[in-house]
């Protein structure tokens, strides 16, 4: 019930907001809706799921499982959405009720996407979430919004329709009882390598667009640059980078043989994306473009973790996904606060803010350090494990991905210098009380994910082990297609038994203690 409530609460808030006009009422409803939704999200771990027929005869269920990996992502996403909704209600001036309505609709859609354990239901939420995301960009974007929206729409739809083909095909082809994850998992063996590879390709295209990965990432930068200057829509966009979750939750475990065929290529792409985006980020002057590339680089690391097809990498990738929600989301909120002070996203036009706004500077430093993977803060455990997984699969990919981590240090520290150090042209106001409230959950999340990684990691690991088992069985069962022979993966599988896997987790548990 809690799961269903978590999806419905934001959606109801979204509908109510459409009919409210007075600014005070809009803010009030948004605040109350956000708080109630967030409190509901905190009740999520351990709560009962939902399983009820949705389209009988077609095999689609309303199946929600809060105890799957997605439950943790839903919780973290809610933690980030709470301040975002508050911030948007303060900063959006034109039609704030509709903007907030779209934001809450995205919140509801994301919750459904993370919690769904029926493939058709997952697809519905996956695609539904696109609509408010498009609406925010289209309605409140910058001067180039039309072009950015069309680009985003085309990439997203082309990807999702490829996935739709796989979604529709997987049940009739495998003969599964229903579209429930468990039923599809049980029936996945019946699919031969070639079919699995094709189906996997359909999923991979959709997930690569939303991960995003290198050749299909073009929409991302325009998307962030053109979105509303408050940064609220960007935060929602950062949460909507769910391609990695789709891979983890659906494509990899259900189509292990296809995954084994495709993994080396996607691993290479992920590593390249990470390095390429990090290097480009270091050269950006536009604050949001920089953050977009930084986020793209993180997503490359997520991909690297996933396509190592290794227990540590898989769980690390999910952890990094959760952590980047907080850190990237936090950075976009901060960018919105900076824009509120100076009206510009040109990083070079700032400088020396630390002396007049020390609290803002300190918060930025914390979130920025978390974002570039400083140990003890949110991104580090995930990045470390993802890289570990990558090295197990292919050291070349690991080294390439490592470039991203190093470059992150460069662009991160450089950004802080450009914004906060040096001579100060004109003093700015330090954090206002409401801004402190907005940033508090971000700081809390950064510290929480940095200092107590073991419980979520353990949950991710439990779910990742399903994938690893599937991949192992697939490798044992099928001879790989000659053309796609992937020594790296086989090595990774051999190494899986090794003690290396459990060591990092033990280390984190110590840190926690």
């Amino acid at each position: 019930m809690i799961s269903l409530l978590l999806i419905l609460l934001p959606l109801v808030t979204a509908v109510v907001l459409l009919f409210v006009r007075t600014p005070v009422a809009v803010r009030g409803i948004a605040l109350v809706g956000a708080l109630i939704t967030f409190v509901t999200a905190t009740l999520l771990p351990g709560s009962a799921g939902l399983l009820t027929p949705w389209i009988p005869g077609f095999g689609a269920y309303l199946a929600l499982d809060p105890n799957y990996a997605g439950g943790i992502l839903a919780l973290v996403a809610s933690l980030v959405m709470l301040p975002t909704a508050l911030w948007a209600s303060l900063r959006v001036e034109v039609n704030p009720n509709r903007f907030l309505s779209a934001l809450f609709a995205m919140w509801g859609g994301l919750m459904g996407l993370f919690l769904a354990r029926d493939l058709v239901l997952f697809y519905v939420f996956w695609e539904f979430t696109l609509l408010p995301s498009l609406a925010m960009l289209a309605g409140w974007g910058g001067t180039q919004r039309r072009q950015a929206t069309l680009k985003y729409l085309l990439y997203a739809v082309a990807g999702s329709f490829a996935m739709l083909l796989s979604v529709a095909a997987i049940r009739p082809l495998s003969g599964a009882e229903s579209y429930l994850f468990v039923d599809l998992l049980a029936a996945s063996e019946t699919l031969d390598v070639l079919t699995q590879t094709w189906l996997f390709a359909g999923f991979a295209l959709a997930f690569a667009v939303k991960l995003p990965l290198f050749p299909v990432h073009h929409w991302l930068v325009d998307f962030h640059e053109q979105n509303h200057p408050s940064g609220a829509a960007d935060v929602a966009g950062a949460l909507y980078k769910v391609g990695g979750f789709g891979m983890f939750a659906w494509a990899l475990p259900l189509l292990p043989e296809g995954a084994v065929q495709a993994a080396p290529w996607l691993l290479a792409l992920g590593a390249f994306t990470a390095a390429y985006a990090a290097v480009i980020a270091a050269r950006q002057h536009h604050l949001k473009r920089l953050l977009a590339y930084a986020s793209l680089s993180h997503m490359g690391l997520v991909a690297v973790g996933l396509f190592g097809l290794h227990l540590a990498g898989l769980s690390g990738a999910m952890y990094l996904l959760a952590a980047q929600m907080v850190t990237t989301g936090g950075m976009f909120l901060i960018s919105g606060m900076l824009h509120a002070r100076r009206g510009s996203f040109d990083a070079d036009s700032y400088g020396g803010l630390a002396s007049s706004a020390p609290a803002l500077a300190a918060t930025t430093l914390l979130v920025l350090f978390a974002s570039i993977g400083v140990p003890g803060l949110a991104n580090f455990p995930g990045e470390f494990l993802a890289l570990l997984g990558a090295f197990q699969a292919s050291s070349a990919a690991g080294v390439l991905a490592l470039v991203a981590v190093i470059a992150a240090g460069v662009y991160g520290v450089n950004l802080y210098q450009r914004l906060y150090q040096g001579p100060e042209p004109t003093p700015v106001v330090d954090l206002r009380p409401l801004e402190v409230v907005v940033l508090a959950p971000i700081v809390a999340g950064t510290l929480w994910l940095g200092l107590a990684p073991a419980p979520p990691l353990r949950a991710f690991q439990a779910d990742a082990s399903v994938t690893v088992r599937q991949v192992q069985q697939a490798a044992a069962r099928a001879e790989p297609l000659a053309a796609f022979e992937a020594p790296a993966v086989t090595e990774a599988l051999a190494a899986f038994e090794g003690a290396a896997v459990n060591e990092p987790l033990a280390a984190f548990e110590e840190v926690e203690r």
Binding site: P53, W54, I55, P56, G57, F58, V120, Y123, V124, E127, F128, L130, L131, A138, G139, R145, R146, T149, L150, L153, L154, V157, A158, F161, A162, L164, L165, V167, A168, A169, R171, P172, L173
Partner: protein, 498 residues
């Protein structure tokens, strides 16, 4: 399920008879009573009455007591009753749209409502037919009023042309269809489906080639009505040339009726042919037609500057998606098509209804400029239009998405994965042309030269509201409708299996 007995079963005939009776009644009343609202009310009452009986029959079919009349020549199983309801829904929406716009368009002749009801009667007969002659009667009853309606705006050349073109090609299609009946009769020695099935599946049946030719001609005849390529050429011109309320009716009701009949024939008569060289030939032909329809309809729509003409091509494209369900035939395919047709009726009627609020009184001005800035001047209309268009594009959580998943799953289930992939590829094209309108409504500034239609009509508003709410409800809770379709069995298949 029990095998129905009795020759004249009034409850089975009730939906068609009520529609027919009310068609005559509205015609008679129109002589004395010029009030359009009154006539529309009478027409809607008739539709509601027919719907009550159709719904009753659908519920009975759920519990395994499907009925039929005249032996097995007029059926009332789940498929027939469900599609009857869809036809009634489409007709009701067309009545509302007509009531709200005809006066403004100066097309206000009282015969509009009786003609709609008569045509709908033909549609109901078509989806219920269990006999080729019954089907032919239904087809003609459906078509004749529509020929007149297409030429409703007698002072406009395009409308005249639409009527004439539709009539000539329709007559040609009927001729093909009758030839198909003759050949099928020659092969099987019967007109009714049940006996044809028995004849075709009997061992020692040797007239395979004649039966196939018959099937091909029947397919061509119905292919005209549903606008399958290459028999689609009339569709864009007729849909565009006819007054928009009439297009609303044609694009949904005629298509539902013809697809209902096509599905029935494909799933019973020609499914009984021995598979192999001959049995596989007919589906093979259909695969080519469906593939061509998907490509022609979608690419055609992409190239159209006018919105009404774009929607006309999009109606052709949707025949392609429905064709996938015909290929899947069997109970699954029929259930999928039944859902798709309901969704399509709602969203397509909704979008045409919204179109009447934007275009000029003389049915001109469907340029995309007309939609620029509509979101600001008429936010609710724009939102309704956006919902219908997104649903047509197959984006969740709207009904069109579920329909698309159902037919694509059916295509995979019967081994037409390639065609399913083509359908999806073409859906991406479809998103482009549907999105173009949404983009214009929400992004572009209204250009000063173009005057937006100030009309606001309550009946049309009601039609749009029904369509939009239905599209959303069927998208979120598709089980409400799909369960009814899925649980029912094809009566003829059941009888044959006994």
């Amino acid at each position: 399920m029990t095998v129905p007995e009795g020759f004249i079963v009034w409850s089975v005939l009730a939906p068609a008879l009520i529609l027919f009776g009310f068609a005559l009644l509205t015609l008679l009343l129109a002589v004395f009573q010029q009030d359009r609202g009154f006539l529309a009310g009478v027409a809607l009452t008739g539709i509601a009455g027919a719907a009550v009986f159709a719904f009753h029959l659908l519920m009975e079919a759920q519990h395994g007591v499907a009925e039929s009349g005249f032996g097995l020549r007029y059926l009332a199983d789940a498929h027939a009753s469900a599609l009857t309801l869809v036809i009634l829904l489409g007709t009701a929406l067309a009545v509302l749209v007509g009531q709200g716009t005809l006066e403004r368009m100066r097309l206000d002749h009282p015969e509009y409502f009786p003609l709609l009801l008569l045509s709908a009667t033909g549609g109901v007969v078509m989806v219920s037919a269990g006999d080729l002659i019954t089907l032919l009667l239904g087809l003609e009853i459906l078509s004749l009023p529509v020929y007149v309606l297409a030429a409703w705006r007698s002072d406009l050349r395009q409308s005249q042309e639409a009527g004439l073109k539709y009539f000539l090609l329709g007559a040609f299609a009927s001729a093909l269809f009758i030839y198909g009946i003759a050949l099928t009769y020659g092969a099987g020695g019967h007109f009714d489906y049940a006996n044809l099935m028995a004849a075709f599946s009997a061992s020692g049946f040797e007239a395979n080639l004649v039966a196939l030719l018959g099937g091909a001609f029947l397919l061509a005849g119905l292919g005209f009505k549903v606008a399958l390529a290459p028999f689609h050429q009339w569709a864009p011109d007729v849909y565009t040339g006819a007054p928009t309320p009439v297009t609303t009716f044609m694009s949904v009701v005629v298509k539902t009726a013809a697809f209902g009949a096509l599905l029935r024939i494909a799933a019973t008569v020609f499914a009984s042919l021995e598979p192999g060289v001959f049995g596989g030939l007919l589906p093979g032909v259909l695969v080519v037609l469906v593939g061509a329809t998907l490509i022609v309809g979608n690419l055609g729509a992409l190239l159209q500057p006018g919105v009404k003409r774009m929607l006309s091509y999009s109606a052709v494209a949707h025949a392609g998606y429905l064709g996938l369900a015909v290929l899947a035939a069997g109970d699954r395919g029929m259930a999928a098509a039944g859902f798709y047709l309901a969704a399509y009726t709602l969203m397509n009627a909704g979008v045409f209804a919204a179109l009447t609020q934007v275009m000029d009184d003389d049915d001109r001005g469907d340029g995309i400029d007309r939609f620029a800035g509509l979101a600001r001047s008429r936010p609710w209309l724009a939102a309704a239009m956006a919902v219908c268009l997104l649903s047509l594009a197959g984006i969740p959580p709207f009904a069109g998405f579920i329909g698309k998943v159902l037919v694509i799953q059916g295509a995979f289930g019967t081994g037409h994965g390639f065609l399913a992939a083509l359908a999806i590829l073409m859906s991406i094209v479809a998103v482009v042309y549907y999105a173009r309108v949404v983009v214009a409504m929400y992004f572009r500034e209204p250009s000063g030269a173009v005057r937006t239609q100030p009309s606001r009509s309550r009946p049309v508003g009601a039609a749009i509201a029904i369509a939009v709410i239905g599209t959303i409800v069927l998208g979120i809770a598709p089980g409400l409708w799909y369960t009814l379709l899925d649980r029912g069995q094809n009566l003829l298949v059941f009888v044959a299996a006994r």
